[in-house]
Structures are given as structure tokens and as C-alpha cells.
């Protein structure tokens, strides 16, 4: 009988010890959850603050730089098409090629001053990408104007060789602004 009581007491003690251990781990777990939640809340708050700041930046970027310049962007590409269209002439003289090339570079310079230089204030990478887009376009057009192997007075060839360059540049520029996230 004394042996069975000992066993019973032991089981009771073991049960209490087990309860204490479970309670301890519950406490630890609850503490962890509280700690984790506080940390998560802080992180969420920080992320929300960053996102809010980014949204404000994007809003200013849109209102101060992009919206007022949308007509400017379309005007530039339309003007460029008109200026480049001057090469649709048979037997273009060397002097005329130089004049057309100069007028295109002048137009690009005005576009830089009136619009995309201001991107440098917002984001250096965005400005660099816009500048590279523009340089690639102007360089490609000038290269083609002085390529004596190309017969650019042919409208189909002109559209293929130059028209597509202008479309790609315009789409590339719009994509730059569309994908800008305010970082």
C-alpha cells in the first residue's frame, strides 16, 4: 500500500511539475507572441511611413514635373518627326544633311533644358536613363542621316530605319516614368 501511495504521490508530483513546465512554456510563448507582435507593428508602421513618403514624392513628381511636361514631351517627338522628315528628299546635299542634323540636335538640347534636366532633382538614375534614351535616339538618327548606303527618301525605308527609332524612344521614356516608384 505504501508503495502504491508513493507511486500515486509521485504521479501527482510529476503532474504538478509537468503543469509548471507547461505554464512556463505558455508564458514564454505568450511573451514571444507579444514581443513578435510589437516588433511587427513597429515594422509595419515604418513600412507604412516609407510608403507614405514614397507616395508623397510620387505625387509631387507627377504634379510638378510630369503633368506640366506631357504636352512638351509629345511636342518634342512631333517636332522631331517633322525635322527628320526633311531627309525624305532625293539626292540630299551634304550641306543639307548637316543642317538637318544640327536642327535635330538643337531640338534635343531644348528638350533637355526645358524638361529632362529637372529629373536630376528627383532622381539621378531616372535623369541618366532619360538622357541615355535621348542620346541613343539622336545618335542613331544622325548616324543614319550620314550613312550614304541608306536611301532614306524611300518612305518605307524611312519608317523602318527612323520612324521606329522615334516610337521606341517615346515608349521607352514613358515606360521610365510609368515604372518609377519614388525610391
Amino acid at each position: 500500500m505504501s508503495i502504491s501511495l508513493f507511486i500515486l504521490l509521485s504521479i501527482s508530483e510529476i503532474s504538478e511539475i509537468a503543469n509548471i513546465i507547461i505554464a512556463f512554456f505558455n508564458l514564454l510563448f505568450a511573451g514571444y507572441i507579444v514581443f513578435y507582435q510589437i516588433r511587427k507593428d513597429r515594422k509595419d508602421k515604418k513600412d507604412e511611413s516609407i510608403q507614405q513618403e514614397r507616395n508623397i514624392k510620387l505625387q509631387w513628381f507627377k504634379e510638378l514635373i510630369i503633368s506640366p511636361n506631357i504636352p512638351n514631351i509629345y511636342h518634342f517627338y512631333q517636332n522631331l518627326e517633322i525635322l527628320v522628315g526633311a531627309i525624305l528628299v532625293k539626292d540630299l546635299s551634304e550641306q543639307r544633311r548637316i543642317e538637318i542634323s544640327d536642327s535635330i540636335k538643337k531640338e534635343a538640347s531644348q528638350f533637355r533644358k526645358s524638361f529632362y534636366d529637372s529629373l536630376n532633382v528627383v532622381n539621378t538614375t531616372l535623369h541618366t536613363n532619360a538622357k541615355y534614351n535621348m542620346d541613343t535616339l539622336i545618335d542613331s538618327i544622325v548616324n543614319k542621316i550620314f550613312d550614304s548606303n541608306l536611301n532614306l527618301n524611300d518612305q518605307v525605308l524611312f519608317d523602318k530605319e527612323i520612324g521606329n527609332l522615334i516610337i521606341n524612344s517615346k515608349n521607352g521614356l514613358i515606360q521610365l516614368f510609368y515604372t518609377y516608384t519614388g525610391d
Partner: protein, 112 residues
């Protein structure tokens, strides 16, 4: 007075009548050693081949990047000149390149 001459004829792509592109500008800057020459001589003359139709600002911006940054516009115009006998006139492209280089430097400088 020590003078140096850079003849762009030596650096042009065969058959081409233009100098365009940033990469090409860097290549010619290195090949012509213009940055080193600028420190060694009092005056540099750059000869433009007579049949050249255009030297684009993208090319000039890289070709002249270090010398313009060092000398600024006035110093550059005093020390470096272009000999230009053909129809193409470089002045407006050169001014555009100088302006772009100096603007870039201003934009990258930390605010005081």
C-alpha cells in the same frame, strides 16, 4: 610654349562621317591620351577631318569629360581649340557638351 595636336582622323571609324556615342567618346579619350596631354602641354589643337558631318554631344561629353571638369569652360576654351576646315561647325555641339558636363558635376556635388 608646348603644343600638342590631336587629329581625329586617326580615331574615326573607317568610312564614317560622324563621331557619336558615349562608348566611342571614352575610347577616343583613352586612345588620344587627351587627359595626360592636358597636364603636359600649354595648348592642344584638335583637328576635325574636313568631311565630318557631325560630332554629337554624347561623344564630346565623354571625350572631354575630365578636361572640362578640370579646366571649366573658360580654361578649356583658352587651352583647347578645334581646327575645323569643313562645312560642319562644332561650336553649338561643343557648348552643349560643356554645359552638360558642368551641369552633371554640379548635380553630383554634395549640398553645402
Amino acid at each position: 610654349m608646348k603644343n600638342a595636336v590631336i587629329d581625329l582622323e586617326k580615331f574615326r571609324t573607317k568610312g564614317s562621317r560622324v563621331f557619336t556615342g558615349r562608348d566611342r567618346g571614352i575610347e577616343v579619350r583613352n586612345a588620344s591620351r587627351i587627359d595626360q596631354l592636358e597636364t603636359e602641354v600649354d595648348f592642344i589643337s584638335i583637328i576635325i577631318p574636313t568631311d565630318i558631318g557631325s560630332i554629337n554631344p554624347s561623344f564630346l561629353e565623354e571625350f572631354l569629360f575630365n578636361v572640362v571638369n578640370k579646366l571649366k569652360a573658360d580654361g578649356f576654351n583658352k587651352k583647347i581649340s578645334f581646327q575645323n576646315e569643313g562645312r560642319y561647325k562644332i561650336l553649338s555641339d561643343l557648348n552643349e557638351a560643356i554645359e552638360r558636363i558642368l551641369r552633371e558635376e554640379t548635380a553630383l556635388s554634395p549640398n553645402d
